[in-house]
Amino acid sequence: MKPPRLASLLLRVCASRRDRSFIVEDLAEEFVRRRSDAGDAAACRWYWRQVAGSVAPLLRDRLRGRRPSFSGRDYLATDAAQAMRSLVRHPGLALTIVLTLIVGLTTTLAATLLVHGIILRPLPYETPEQLVTVRPSGPRLPASVGAISLPDFDDWQTPMRSFAVLSGYAALTMTLTDLGEPRRIETLRVGPRFGELFGTTPVIGRDLDARDFVQGAQPVALLGHALWERAFARDSGVVGRSLTLDGRRYEIVGVLPPVPFADVTEDHELWIPLVARTGVAWEPVRGNGFISILARLAPGVTAAAAQDELSALTAVLAERYPRSNAEKPAAILEPLQQAIVKPVRRPLLLVFAAVGSVLLVACGNLVNLLLASAERRRPEFAVRMALGAGRGRIHRQVALEVLACVGAALAVSLMAAPSLARLFAIVYPVPLPSTDALTLSTTTVVASLGLGLVVALVLAWPQLRSIRSTGGPAATGRVAGSRVDRRGRAALIASQVAFTLVLAFAGVALVRSMARLSAVEPGIDADGVVALSVSPSPGRFTSGAATRSFFEQLLQEVRQLPGVRAAAASTAVPFVNLGWGFTITPPEGGTPRMVRVTIASPGFFETLRVPLASGRLLSDAEHRSEQGVIVINTLTARLLPYDDPVGRTLRYSGIDWTIVGVVAPAVQVGLRTPASAELFLPWSQAGRAPQRLVVDIDGDAAAVLPLITARIRALDPAAPIAEVTALGDRITRSVAADRFSATLLSGLATVGVLLAALGIWSVTSYVVARGRRENGIRSALGESRARQLRRTIRGTLEPALAGVVIGAIICLSSAPALQTFLFNVPARDPLTLILAAAGVILTAVAAAAIPARLALRADAAAALRAE
């Protein structure tokens, strides 16, 4: 009879491994004796008592941990010292790992900061999730229409249950005269309770209130915080002082807090009440939209419910005022955060994905390196285990080595990442919102530590695995690699190549898109053309006629200047600013379309060398008269149902205009945005609207510009001159963002390809070195060098080709995500894939063939002699 099974099992569990067998056998020995002395029952009882009494001491002993014979030293310190020593012994390996990790981790962390700080971070206002943008909408309304008119805005002010606040704004550039040099200043015309949207109250003085919005009230202004600091030296007695804007005095009633509003609206320096401007005929008209709407939802109300309530109101307005509002029967709400982030969201995510891919490829290389290192160290580990080191201790040491490398790299990355992120924000051609948030927060630091841990696990795994398979007498390390190792390496190469292909695909697509973009015809000849904004002081030129004659005289004088080929004035210049947007309804009915309206002086089309498509341009006399003649461009002509629009009439702003000529379209915004339908009114229509001068200069613009400004000053000393731009630069800048993305992506793709090539190279070298003996024997047995070469390369190329196939599948399936970046290039274009795949395959073949040839060139006998 044996001792009670349960008791002996309990004993086994509690005992340490070393003594387990002895304890159990000792107790079994006594059990047998007791049985013969006192009988089975008594023996069993005794056995149980023994086990019960042994559990506590044995467990206590185990938990305390057996110390090795050289007692008194701390485990962790010893292992750490050992880890350091082994790193120092292989400095090349350690340095490679740390440097690669630094590059990979810094870029990944910077990208994370950008994504987290710009896309994910909530707006810096009270309860930002309640803020929404509001746009009119209708089944036939172009998506670019986002603003509403002043009468509509007044109607929208009716109290609605779903909105806590509904207000709007319109940007206006005005001339500031009595604060130093006369200059142009960006103001924001704000509706009632605008500050309540952001939860801000003025730091000094009062907010705008109902009396400021009454027609004819004393004009008031709220200074922006930066303006108050700069121009008023933080004077707390600024309330009551005044500014002169566009010739009128505005009393300062308060100063705004330093909250960043500019992320939401355009950049501006102060707020003034949004009321109809005197002398501006088009503003009070219901069809002319220029006010952008922001709202704060009432607590607990969903955007959908608010949208429904507002749409009910707009439907009523559409019925009541069919001529202006019929196409805007509804309204659309969008969370403000989303609206702001939308233009930069995709590019940033693309950068994030690309950088992450490079990190993965780099880690793949490191894993390869460490696999080789692990095999090299097998004898070392085997010897140590034979000398008594537990497997756990070696695991710990390897883990400490990896953690030391990863930790060092992570420390450097955490310090460098915010700077890299900020550098990116500066270099990126489009201003990014909320860039002050690009610092390390708790979330990002914790995420980085997590990433570091994952990377450390990935890097430590090959060595830990190799230790586990080492047991007993040391392997001499001559094995060329078990099948599992080979499969692991193959999988690594395949995944590296797949990622690299995806990167290369994106890079090639963006480069092609960039090429197409650069080939777009802007429609004007920007060579040598300079544009500047000139604002004759409203005090001196009080009427439209006076302003016009100012410009006419100015143009006459400028045209006489040496080097000036042509000059003109207009309210909108391509690539500088947009003409006013108005909707016109084609004569035979049909959808109302948006056209851009520009008032251009004689000489406008000649200065920009816009070709005439049909008909003729306006004569000087026509420009001066009040005749209803206009010029349109070919895109406007396409909206009309006539074969030849010359001589036909077009109804705009209540007047029937006769079309005398059609010009070629010119791009207005950027090369990406197609040209719009345009309308060019005669110069007689130019009132006191802001004008720009366009001058075509032959030769050195820098020499001629001072002459031009001197002429302007001579005619009106107080006229601010601003925004002097060379149109050629503007055109380049309009594609700057695309060029940036293309350059960055192709750069990352190149890095990825090089890393993958490096990986393939090192794996091939390793495999060849391992197989030297085998190859030497084969050579001696008559295998040709070429065959050996082929065999070696095949081992690396097969997984590479598998990687290409996998990568191609990923490319084709995820290509649509790339479409938003591409211009005129279909995302799934086979040419892109072929180019990318060709590049990757060629690199892979070279990376495998070259080291293989170099290595196999060694004498076969030499290889055998080395044994």
Partner: protein, 111 residues
Amino acid sequence: MPKGSFLGEFELYVMGALVRLGDDAYGVTIRQEIESQCGRGVAIGAVYATLARLETKGYVTFTISEPTPVPGGRSKKFAALTPEGQRALRHATAMLHRILPGLATGGGGRK
């Protein structure tokens, strides 16, 4: 004497048993010796745990024997005091004498 080297009560018993048992000190015999001499039940686990602790302190060494030349024989783990162990035991008993006057000294063991 370096700090931390005071012997616990049970450790003393185990060391004493090792002295008395000489070459024949393994789990069973040590346990039985303490049990008979001290008149209280002793768990084998406690014996092994104490032996392990004493080994850490350097007072005890082990020898694992060949399997005994009988059918179903097994190898046993024998324990013996090291010179330091013997010194420690002597010192402990001397201290006990001094602290507790009038102790009856135990007799010599089988040697």
